[in-house]
Amino acid sequence: MARFFKQFYLAIILIFMYLPIGALILFSFNESKSMATWTGFSTHWYEQLFHDPIIAEALWVTISVALLSALIATVIGTFAVIGMDSLRKKTKGVVLNLTYVPMVNADIVMGISLLLLFIFLNIPRGYWTMLLAHITFNIPYVIFSVLPKMRQMDRSTYEAALDMGAKPSEAVRKVVFPQIMPGIVTGFILAFTMSFDDFMISFFTTQGTTQNLSIYIYSMARVGINPMINALSAIMFVVVIVLLIVVNVRSTKKPKRTLQREY
């Protein structure tokens, strides 16, 4: 009986999480524009999707901004953590708390303050200001992903490397990086996702000259969401699932390999 409830509970949770996505994928194959009545199987929303230059451009902006901002934020964030590690305890605390603020701050405050800054500096809003904004809000996520790994790391390994004649840059590259790598990868992925679905900050920092996918989808609200968006979301969902499976398969194999290498 207890077993039954355990499984039932799990099933309920999974249904709540995946049923909406299932409905979304199902209706991306619907023939009519309706999201309520099923009128027949069709792939023409997919055809339309691939012939829509507006969506293509928005998707391109979203992906390129997400990749670039995640990459740059990962580099900046990682070095920030390495630097913070050798600060005095008090200063470190101050810096850490300052890093928290942008994370807990409401998106709209960040969006408006960046907009005001760009207006003040007279920078025309567009692709590059959106990229800058995304890098800015991504850095804290990277920092807080890498930081725990840095704490776990034994400082003496770095010092040992120096004792054995490694230059500091070599020691960072060959000793520190491999140990904090999982944190860096997590940070990158987190930053990528954060950037991918950001609406608020993107909206304020582009001001109608460039748009990413979330701005475009939101703006459809006035005339109703087009099922092309269902098709696009279905494709993105499948890609993410495949990526997840690949990552999981890799990481279940991994422990063996690292053991062999380390001995």
């Binding site: 309520a36 391109w60 567009g126 692709y127 000259t209 006035r222």
Partner: protein
């Protein structure tokens, strides 16, 4: 070895991205003419233009690039267009926002004498656009009404007016529109007042009418009303029977369910116009005007009308439009039925407060 490869891959990827996104960045700098090409920034509504139209324009006008972005509402469009240093050139506001922008001198004058396709819009503008009858600042792009969509198998009355929404017979089968001016507007017309009433007693009477009506209402909604209505069925007890809806939404809903009809009640209803305007701050006015003129060309207007489901102001465009859509009353209503229709006027903050207070009562009831 493996690591070196992955590092190399990462670097190549970054370079690829950096190189290939530089053209996209060009769109950020509004008027920077690269290679003699001028960029016109066009702020549209989402999904409100046939996707083939802009490429067509760019093909015919190789010196102009249209950079289109989208806004979700008039209010957000206004914010983007009025922020200092805005780079937007062309906008597509509704009539009440056009009036406000005209008052604030935000719109540039159009030179209609040099616009080849102005002749097709002229008649509609003079008859229907009291705020700007000669298209000095705005070129009508699409228009529509706000009426009732109903299931002919459930609602069998000959003459349908706004009072059907207050009929006890349809208790629990009526869908109302969840928007302050639209819902209070319905009640104001039902009471015989103007949609743009500024009178405190009238507005609060409209609010009370909606409070009294609430037990009859199945739900208040916006986009979701389309879904509920498209699954309306006389065979299901207490199925939704009618909803107040914008004509453009009604066109699509009627395609999903052939039992549905759309009506503009004789007492009058809201009519709206979305029109293309150039911002005073634009420095590519000539190119922007060429773009607007292109959008007015009857074949292009027809493409957009068919794609969006919203009516076109040009009679000349109708011959290019599919017969089936033309016969849809929501898309192409009789012009006589529009006689009592009214535009929303821009209301002062103080009057809006009265509306908000009445609306709060309805929502809390």
């Amino acid at each position: 070895m493996k690591k070196t490869i992955s590092v190399l891959l990462a670097i190549t990827l970054t370079i690829c991205i950096l190189v290939s996104c530089s053209p996209a960045s060009g769109s950020g700098n509004s008027t920077a003419a690269s290679g003699g090409q001028v960029t016109v920034n066009f702020l549209n509504w989402g999904d409100y233009i046939d996707p083939t139209v802009i490429p067509l324009f760019e093909e015919e006008n190789p010196d102009v690039k249209i950079n289109m972005t989208t806004a979700p509402s008039n209010e957000e469009m206004y914010v983007s267009a009025s922020t200092e240093g805005t780079q937007i050139d062309v906008v597509l506001p509704s009539e009440y926002m056009i009036q406000r922008m005209m008052q604030e001198n935000m719109l540039a004058e159009l030179d209609t004498s040099s616009m080849e396709n102005y002749q097709y819009v002229k008649e509609f503008a003079q008859a229907n656009c009291g705020y700007d009858p000669n298209c000095t600042y705005s070129m009508p792009y699409s228009w529509g009404t706000f009426g009732i969509i109903y299931n002919t198998e459930i609602v069998t009355e000959e003459e349908i007016g706004w009072d059907i929404l207050f009929d006890e017979k349809y208790k629990g089968q009526i869908l109302m529109y969840d928007s302050i001016r639209d819902s209070l507007g319905v009640a104001l017309i039902e009471l015989g007042y103007s949609l743009n009433s500024r009178d405190e007693a009238e507005i609060s009477a409209a609010g009370s009418l909606l409070v009294d009506q609430k037990p009859l209402v199945l739900a208040y909604g916006t986009d979701d009303l389309r879904m509920t209505m498209s699954s309306s069925d006389a065979a299901i007890p207490n199925s939704a029977a009618m909803a107040v809806m914008y004509a453009g939404d009604a066109v699509y809903t009627m395609q999903d369910n052939d039992k549905l009809e759309y009506v503009i009640p004789q007492e009058g209803a809201n009519i709206f116009v979305d029109a293309l305007c150039i911002l005073e701050t634009s420095d590519v006015k000539e190119e922007a005007q060429r773009f607007i003129d292109f959008m007015m060309r009857p074949d292009i207007a027809a493409l957009n009308a068919e794609y969006t489901g919203y009516s076109t102001p040009e009679d000349a465009a109708l011959e290019y439009i599919d017969e089936e859509i033309l016969q849809n009353y929501a898309f192409n209503p009789d012009k006589e039925d529009l006689v009592n229709c009214e535009y929303y006027e821009h209301l002062d903050q103080e009057v809006l407060k009265l509306y908000e207070a009445a609306w709060m009562q309805v929502k809390m009831a």
